[in-house]
Symmetry: C2
């Protein structure tokens, strides 16, 4: 088992990118990724590409268009899909490609075009990531799933409307410090609390964005990493987990089982505990999801996630800085790109390259990426070289 | 890098399976896979699941429904997609999961429901696996892509109408010896030559089937494999390659570049050459594809693929037995399941369990799986333990 490092990372501008196709967004991310690395296309052995859904990309084999547009034929590639965790499945696959000895240098790319239809139709398409026999046909979509989780969490732990909104306020604030983020607008707690309802108790500012974008990382074996960069970031822990495809079968809607399992594995593999984490990007597709993530990752006791953000502990100067890139909430959530962009942010943070939103002295980082309403979850832990 | 073995394999009945959902087909394959293995669900650490297309499966996260239905939550899983090579991408990912040390025992599953629409619509959906900016919008679908390859091959090498049909005759014959195969009907050369046209020069019997099905293999590390079976089959070579997303950009339509690259890598990794291969399953989505596969794999000189089948060299008693399970042509081609079912056949052949269609004394096998019209290709080499 060989050590695997990030040697480069980059992303396209996230947003409503009607100016660019998926392959063009990928090219933007690729250029950013390669610009500070002592490597060229020729050094790349293999590729893994994440896309979330066929329909919004108008394609049944979207990754092949990216490989060709980047000029990487005939190198090996395949697509990973795990709904909203597709990007972290790609990072995991990139790690495995190198650690297994099949390649020395792997480009991991995540891409998604979403602003192709009215939001109502896109939400309908996403709904098919829920169980398509037992839930989707009855009208369930993701704002509804997470609204049920929010209701359960508020009922069981006393989580408040204001605590949900605190997540939005924090993530909008940090997005303004990230030039790649979709939203560039600070909001007040009053704005966030009083926004129009989407699925009670979630309102507009509780929901992440319909975003186009791409993000990529270049991974390398220990030997190659040392040739390519002076500032490698090592992947030291990987955990994966799954939850029931149906939400109705879950005994508890205040936590995601697959996330707890994935976190436990990642901590165990890297010999780390929650207290060791200096900076994290977590899956805030809805504000309640970030609060549940704090708890599933062990950043606080169960039920205390609302208080954690309210007390400022997940800001850059808090105990567990979370989503300093703006998160899915304000950076945006282009499905296939999301998990990869989480890794991009952690690599920047551990490299001390995060500018105004830098978590001081961050040496150990974590990404937490949830597919659907918990069907697939990946947690990765990274350490500065 | 740890050695990785097949310890179990199975498949559902392939066919027009309106009696079963995707998850139910997966369960059939899973039961077959586990029945001769000294292992239970508890021994499985992780899973990889191949599905080809969202639309025919009516889902945007189809693998999650399989994980849950098999009772494997909360074990890690993700989906691989590489169009028609999705299943081989899953086998490759299963290998990587174990060889990288992330798991000891991995279930690799491939599933596809296709008989959900009229064939014309399914063909349209598949067309989106071609380049969706530069070719698909102008009406290209897969019979057309492969018809162009057939025309080029006939023009350049003198490949005949009869030689194309010989592939169909062979594969239909062997499908009748495989109870899991979709087609159970021998055909004559006259039948095959005179069938109705689909895309000139390809006719009905040159085309593979619209099939529902699932196939799975259980992979294990060396240590675990020895506990679980007396007849492991080892994965000793893996190669991946890609070709341009557009066919018009390729300089030669008589060969698939990604396939040549994938084969070269697999032979190199396993220290084998074409002459060493005792039995193979290759990607005969259309009859011309099998002829091109012979050549890309080095089973004959370039341009001589038609003669190879005409001379009987790819029958069970020939020099290179190919597609003794009936191939995509007659066993059927449920996209996500196809590559996995190729591996299932090789495992059976190397285990001496292929009954009437057994290639005598087969010790070394190969699978060749093409996504789209060559965008993704995987070649794997297997050896009897």
């Amino acid at each position: 088992m060989r050590d695997v490092a990030f040697v480069g990372q980059g992303m396209s501008k996230f947003g409503d990118r009607e100016d660019a196709s998926g392959r063009e967004l990928a090219f933007e991310a690729f250029e950013e990724t390669m610009k500070d690395v002592d490597a060229t296309r020729d050094d790349i052995d293999s590729m893994v590409t994440a896309f979330g859904v066929d329909e919004t990309n108008h394609s049944a084999q979207p990754s092949s268009e990216v490989v060709t547009y980047l000029g990487l034929n005939p190198k090996a590639d395949f697509r990973t899909e795990a709904a909203c965790a597709s990007g972290s499945a790609a990072v995991r696959s990139g790690y495995m490609t190198i650690a297994s000895g099949l390649a020395d240098v792997v480009l991991v790319m995540g891409v998604e075009k979403l602003n192709e239809f009215p939001t109502s139709h896109t939400t309908e398409v996403f709904g098919k990531a829920g169980d398509t026999i037992w839930e989707y046909p009855y009208g369930t979509t993701f704002p509804g799933y997470y609204a049920m989780m929010a209701t359960a969490h508020m009922s069981k732990y006393g989580t408040t409307r204001e605590q949900l909104s605190e997540v939005a306020v924090k993530n909008h604030k940090y997005a303004t410090m990230n030039k790649y983020a979709h939203m560039q607008k600070e909001i007040t707690l009053k704005d966030a609390v009083s926004a129009n309802p989407v699925a009670h108790p979630l309102n507009l500012y509780d929901c992440s964005l319909i975003t186009d974008g791409a993000a990529s990382v270049l991974l390398a074996s220990e030997e190659k990493a040392k040739e390519m960069t002076d500032t490698p970031v090592w992947i030291t822990g990987l955990g994966g987990g799954t939850s029931s495809s149906t939400q109705f079968k879950r005994s508890d809607n205040t936590s995601i089982r697959g996330a707890r399992v994935a976190a436990e594995k990642a901590y165990e593999m890297s010999s780390k505990s929650p207290e060791d984490i200096d900076v994290a990007t977590v899956h805030d597709c809805f504000t309640i999801a970030e609060i549940i993530a704090y708890e599933d990752l062990g950043f606080c006791e169960k039920g205390k996630g609302g208080e954690l953000v309210e007390e400022g502990e997940t800001y850059a100067d808090g105990k567990f800085p979370v989503n300093l890139d703006g998160g899915l909430k304000a950076k945006g959530h282009p499905i296939g790109a999301t998990g990869v962009s989480m890794s991009v942010e952690i690599a920047k943070q551990l490299g001390g390259e995060a500018g105004d939103r830098q978590a001081d002295g961050a040496e150990i980082g974590l990404t937490h990426n949830v597919g659907g309403n918990g069907q697939h979850v990946f947690v990765h832990i990274y350490e500065r070289g």
